[in-house]
C-alpha cells in the first residue's frame, strides 16, 4: 500500500513528464524499447511509488502486446499509451486493495490499459495526419535548413498524448478508487482478483498467437508444463 502523501502533485507531474518523454521514444526517436510495457510500467511505477505492482502489470501487458508491430503504414495498438494509463490508474487503486499482489487493482488497471491501447490508435492516426500537414508546409518553405527542420516539429504531439494518457489513467484510477472504497464486503475484490487471472490467460494466448513460428503452442505449452511441474513438486514437497 502506498502512503497518501506519496501521490503528491509534484510526484504526479514528474511521472507525467516521464510519460511524455517515453511516448516520444516509441516511434519518433531511437526506438530502444523504453516505451514497451515492461520498461515503461517499470519506470513509471518507480516514479509513482508502486514498483512491484507496476512491474506485474508491465509483464502482463508486454505479453498481451507482444506481437504489436508498426509494419509499413498500419497503425497498431498503442501499447505505450496503454501502459501509461494503466500504471497511473494502478497507482491510485493499490491502496484500495490491501494484500499481496493487489490483484484486483491490477485487473482494473489492465482494463483501463486496454481501453487506452485502442484509443491510442486514434491518437496515432491524428499524429500522422498532423505530420502530413507539416510535410506540405515544409514544401512551401524556401530556406532549406528551415524546410528540413520541419522533421522535428511533430515531436510535441506524441509527447502530449503520453502525458494525457497518463492523466486520463490517473483520473480514472482516482474515481474508481473512491468507488472501491465505498464498496463493502469481500466478493468484489475477490472477483476482481480472479479477473486478473483471466487477463493473464488472455495475455498468454495473445502472446503465443502473435509469434509466427511453427508449433509455437508446443514451445509455449512445454515451457508452461515445466513450470507447472516444478510448482506441483514444490506443493507436494511442502506437504
Amino acid at each position: 500500500m502506498i502512503p497518501e502523501a506519496s501521490m503528491s502533485p509534484a510526484r504526479l507531474a514528474l511521472a507525467a513528464a516521464l510519460a511524455a518523454l517515453l511516448a516520444l521514444e516509441r516511434k519518433a526517436f531511437l526506438q530502444a524499447m523504453l516505451a514497451r510495457p515492461l520498461v515503461a510500467c517499470g519506470l513509471l511505477g518507480l516514479a509513482l511509488g508502486v514498483p512491484s505492482e507496476a512491474l506485474l502489470l508491465g509483464a502482463a501487458l508486454e505479453l498481451f502486446f507482444l506481437g504489436t508491430a508498426n509494419l509499413g503504414a498500419n497503425v497498431p495498438d498503442q501499447e505505450f499509451l496503454a501502459s501509461a494509463a494503466g500504471v497511473s490508474c494502478l497507482a491510485f487503486l493499490v491502496p484500495a486493495f490491501p494484500g499481496p499482489g493487489a490483484s484486483g487493482a491490477l485487473a482494473i488497471a489492465a482494463g483501463v490499459a486496454l481501453l487506452f491501447g485502442k484509443l491510442g490508435q486514434l491518437s496515432d492516426r491524428l499524429g500522422e495526419r498532423y505530420n502530413e500537414r507539416l510535410l506540405l508546409a515544409s514544401a512551401a518553405e524556401r530556406d532549406l535548413t528551415r524546410q528540413l527542420g520541419f522533421a522535428l516539429r511533430g515531436l510535441w504531439l506524441p509527447a502530449l498524448a503520453g502525458a494525457l494518457a497518463f492523466a486520463g489513467g490517473a483520473t480514472l484510477g482516482l474515481l474508481l478508487r473512491r468507488a472501491m472504497v465505498s464498496l463493502s464486503g469481500e466478493v468484489v475484490p475477490r472477483a476482481l482478483g480472479f479477473a486478473w487471472l483471466g487477463f493473464l490467460a488472455a495475455a498468454g494466448a495473445s502472446a503465443v498467437r502473435s509469434i509466427r513460428v511453427e508449433r509455437a503452442e508446443l514451445w509455449a505449452g512445454g515451457a508452461a508444463a515445466l513450470v507447472a511441474g516444478i510448482q506441483l513438486a514444490q506443493v507436494l514437497a511442502s506437504k
Binding site: A28, L38, E128, L152, V235
Partner: protein
C-alpha cells in the same frame, strides 16, 4: 549531369569526415519524428543527411538539388535505414566528386528500401523484440527489475550494435553493403529466436498465474493455463485478443465471486 557534378570537375568535393558521419548517424535516430502516410520517412532521411550534403555541396543550387533527391518517398525499417544512410553518404560523396551520376543514389535507396524493410520487420519486430520481451517478462516475474534490465540490455546490445554496424558498412561498401547484410544471417537467427519467444511466453504465464490469489498456488496457475489454451484456440479462429481478454476476465471474475 548535375550542377554539382560540373562544379566538382574543377574542385574536388570535401571529404565526409568521421564527425560529419557521426552527426548523420545521430540525426538518423529521429528518422520517424515526422512520419506521415504521404512520403513516410522522406523528411526524416533528408534532415539526417543535411550535415553531409552541406559539406559536399557548398553551392546552394547543388545543395537544393541534392536535398530534393532525398525528399522523395522513402520508407524502410528504421534500424535497417542505417545501411541505406551509410550507402547514401558513399554515393553522395562520389556524385559530388563527379565519379557517378546523381541517379545512382536514388536507385540505391529505391532498390534497397523494400527488401531491407522486410528483413528488419522479420528480424527485429517479429523475432528479437518478442523474444527479448517474453524473456524480460519472465525474468521480471521471477526476479523483479532484473527483467527490465535483461530486456533492455539484451535487445539493445543487438539493436544498437547492428545499427552502427550497418551504417559503417553502408558508408564503406556502398552497393556492396548487401553482401555485408547477408553475412549477418538475420534470417537464420529469426528461426532460433521465435521458439525461444514462445517458450518464454508460456513459462511467464505459468509463473504469473502461480502468483495469483488463492490458497493453493497451483490451482490458479492451472486455471490460467486452461483459459490460455481456450484463448489460443479462439484467437486462432479470429476472435480479437481484446474480446477474449474481456471474456476471460469476466468468466474468471464470476468464478471468483462464487468460490
Amino acid at each position: 549531369m548535375s550542377a554539382a557534378h560540373d562544379r566538382s570537375q574543377d574542385t574536388p568535393a570535401p571529404e565526409l569526415t568521421a564527425r560529419v558521419r557521426r552527426r548523420v548517424f545521430v540525426r538518423s535516430l529521429w528518422l520517424q519524428a515526422c512520419w506521415n502516410p504521404r512520403r513516410m520517412q522522406s523528411l526524416g532521411i533528408a534532415w539526417a543527411l543535411e550535415p553531409a550534403l552541406k559539406v559536399l555541396y557548398p553551392d546552394p543550387q547543388a545543395l537544393r538539388a541534392a536535398a530534393d533527391r532525398h525528399l522523395a518517398f522513402f520508407n524502410c525499417h528504421p534500424y535497417m535505414t542505417a545501411a541505406i544512410l551509410g550507402g547514401s553518404l558513399f554515393h553522395e560523396q562520389r556524385i559530388a566528386r563527379g565519379e557517378e551520376e546523381a541517379e545512382k543514389v536514388v536507385a540505391f535507396k529505391a532498390s534497397l528500401m523494400g527488401p531491407l524493410a522486410a528483413l528488419g520487420d522479420g528480424f527485429f519486430w517479429m523475432s528479437l523484440r518478442p523474444a527479448a520481451g517474453a524473456v524480460g517478462a519472465l525474468v521480471a516475474l521471477l526476479a523483479g527489475y532484473w527483467g527490465v534490465a535483461v530486456f533492455l540490455v539484451g535487445y539493445n546490445a543487438v539493436h544498437l550494435g547492428l545499427r552502427a554496424h550497418f551504417f559503417s558498412q553502408g558508408w564503406r561498401l556502398g552497393d556492396e553493403v548487401v553482401g555485408a547484410l547477408a553475412a549477418t544471417n538475420l534470417t537464420g537467427l529469426t528461426g532460433k529466436l521465435r521458439p525461444a519467444a514462445a517458450a518464454a511466453a508460456g513459462a511467464a504465464v505459468a509463473v504469473a498465474g502461480a502468483a495469483g490469489p488463492g490458497h493453493l498456488q497451483l490451482l490458479p496457475m492451472l486455471a490460467v493455463l486452461g483459459l490460455g489454451v481456450v484463448g489460443w484456440v479462439l484467437l486462432g479462429r479470429g476472435l480479437s485478443p481484446y474480446a477474449w481478454a474481456a471474456a476471460a476476465a469476466g468468466l474468471a471474475a464470476v468464478a471468483g465471486a462464487f468460490l
